[in-house]
């Protein structure tokens, strides 16, 4: 049991494992329930799997978050293994032989890791801040959505509990006491870095997509297209034309042309 336990965190299952036919991705209900930070993570994973050409089934569950072994969505069921969160899933996909960035040099691989860390460091926290600490968004969008699948009084208690949890996490990362302007500044710096890195290329590392492209698309697309009371972050991203074009391009190739669901 101990080895499975370690693997659930490390997700480095032997390279001899194949991609099963019954792979399932569990997430909360898309239309009514999921909050946009979680949606960004789900979209990143879906994009990655589409880029690898892997088949999977999306399972919508109201209790996906509680089912997940680490308490975060989405999580992937590959046979007997459950893997949750973006980075372990990327690692699991790699060890099953689908390594999008296999052709990169070592330096480029380092850079890939660095930029994914940048997304984690800035965009993910900015999304959490906007969803759970920004009063307007919290009351009008996040809380109603999060509690929509529960009856009274759980639909009030559970969002309140989640908000406290997220706030604690952001406090430990020193994001909680920032203002919206500071958050937008951080997003601006991040997007500037991404934009400068992308330049005029099709993807971040040339003409073939990598894991970074999937993650960037997932977050930027969510932030641009979600209807929110506060559009500050979306405005920041929209200033960078090459990023917007990038999102449109990936959207076209991997979702619209292939008729894939979001």
């Amino acid at each position: 049991m101990a080895s499975l336990v370690a693997e659930a965190i490390q997700a480095e299952i032997g390279a001899t494992e194949r991609w099963p036919d019954n792979a399932r991705l569990f997430q909360p209900y898309q239309v009514e329930q999921i909050t946009f930070p979680d949606y960004a993570a789900c979209l990143s994973i879906k994009t990655l799997l589409h880029m690898c050409g892997l088949k999977f089934k999306v399972e919508l569950r109201a209790n996906a978050e509680e089912m997940s072994p680490s308490g975060k969505v989405p999580f992937l069921q590959l046979g007997a293994f459950l893997i949750s969160e973006v980075e372990p899933i990327i690692a699991a996909v790699k060890t099953r032989g689908f390594h999008l960035s296999a052709d990169l040099t070592d330096i480029q691989k380092s850079e890939l890791k660095a930029y994914i860390a940048l997304i984690d460091n800035v965009l993910v926290n900015a999304e959490l801040y906007l969803a759970w600490l920004h009063p307007e968004t919290l009351e009008q969008v996040t809380k109603p959505r999060y509690g929509s699948v529960y009856c009274w009084p759980l639909n009030l208690i559970l969002p309140w509990r989640k908000q406290r949890e997220v706030k604690l996490k952001l406090v430990s990362l020193e994001w909680a006491d920032r203002t919206m302007e500071e958050v937008c500044e951080e997003v601006h710096t991040c997007c500037q870095a991404l934009s400068e890195r992308l330049e005029k290329q099709q993807y971040f590392f040339g003409s073939k997509p990598t894991e970074l492209d999937a993650v960037v698309f997932g977050h930027l697309y969510t932030l641009i297209t979600t209807e929110l009371p506060n559009k500050a972050i979306a405005d920041v991203i929209n200033k960078f034309q090459n990023l917007v074009d990038f999102c449109t391009r990936v959207d076209q190739i991997y979702f619209k042309d292939l008729n894939n669901d979001y």
């Binding site: 965190i9 949750s84 380092s110 996490k169 500037q192 934009s195 890195r197």
Partner: protein, 323 residues
């Protein structure tokens, strides 16, 4: 604000240095290193006093009326003043700087905090005594404990799920740190600095993180051994130290004196290996003898008083309770 305020002195309040380093704190090191790279006429003051800082942390940069504490804000301010070590970077390289800073913050910093504040042996033997001694009274009681709690919070918040054990989080933190070091090593390659022959802000920040891990006398630190195995990163740190922080004659003199004192203390303890133990034993014996004499001679008496239960006792076992 493009005018160089050369008249106002730029002061950087930091934690003092040890183990051949100008400072032991990562952020302070990064700030000092950047100033040295850019040729900033900075006055470094090892105040060891984070009390006045708005965030509770050092370094504090004071320049005229501006007060900044976060490293990125300090760098930004210096750039605005025209002191930049990044002026020769391309846009892509500038983006890389930001990305790698994020990588360090996400993957390396938790391991650093862990080695410093959470690993029990290092915390008890090295970190707490060092910070307790360095901090002015009365902060020396308060600062180490507070930072330990914050470090704990930061490292373990990524737990996610109740059934993940602490050791698993530690293993994950360490693994990611090692991967981060590998990434840095690849990025640096054979170059002198990350972006060629001149150091940049990334070199300052990397130096800030790596130098303490390299130089501090940590025991049993996997992180330290892994870093020592990354030759080019060690060379980078030493290069920066030699080029920008050469030891001054006073410091060399101090070091020599310290070495002599240590040697003397060692020989002393060899002659009287159990001096301290003997002192304590002697004290206990003397005290016991005095107490025994006091009782025997009747100076002190003990009475046993039987206190009757006047008031009802608050807790009793109630056998007749039926639920």
């Amino acid at each position: 604000m493009w005018t160089k305020m050369a008249d106002d002195a730029l002061v950087l309040e930091v934690w003092k240095g040890d183990w051949d380093l100008p400072s032991v704190d990562s952020d302070c090191l990064a700030a000092i290193a950047y100033c040295k790279f850019s040729g900033v006429p900075v006055k470094v003051k090892p105040t060891n006093n984070p009390w006045k800082s708005p965030t509770g942390y050092l370094p504090i940069m004071k320049h005229g009326t501006t007060l900044e504490t976060k490293v990125s804000n300090i760098f930004a301010h210096l750039r605005l003043q025209g002191w930049g070590a990044d002026s020769n970077l391309t846009e892509k390289e500038g983006a890389d700087v930001i990305a790698f800073c994020a990588l360090l913050s996400e993957k390396l910093q938790p391991a650093l905090l862990y080695s410093w504040w959470i690993d029990s042996k290092n915390y008890v033997d090295l970190t707490r005594p060092w910070y307790a001694k360095a901090s002015p009274f009365p902060l020396n009681y308060y600062v180490p404990g507070k930072w330990q709690r914050q470090a704990s919070c930061r490292v373990y918040h990524q737990k996610g799920g109740d059934d993940i054990e602490d050791w698993e989080v530690e293993a994950k933190v360490l693994k990611e740190a090692k991967e981060c070091l590998n990434s840095l090593s690849y990025k640096l390659g054979d170059q002198d600095f990350f972006f060629g022959d001149l150091p940049s802000s990334l070199d300052a920040i990397v130096f800030g993180y790596l130098a303490p891990i390299l130089k501090a006398p940590l025991s049993g630190s996997q992180l330290q051994s892994h870093l020592r195995a990354c030759d080019n990163l060690c060379r980078l740190c030493n290069r920066i130290l030699h080029r920008f922080f050469p030891p001054t004659p006073e410091e060399m003199e101090e070091k020599r004196k310290l070495k002599e004192k240590e040697a003397k203390a060692q020989t002393d303890s060899l002659e009287f290996p159990h001096t301290r133990r003997n002192k304590i034993l002697a004290g206990i014996f003397a005290f016991t003898a005095m107490v025994v004499y006091a009782f025997m001679s009747g100076l002190v008496q003990i009475e046993f008083v039987d206190e009757n239960n006047q008031s009802p006792a608050p807790v009793s076992s109630d056998n007749n309770e039926e639920d």
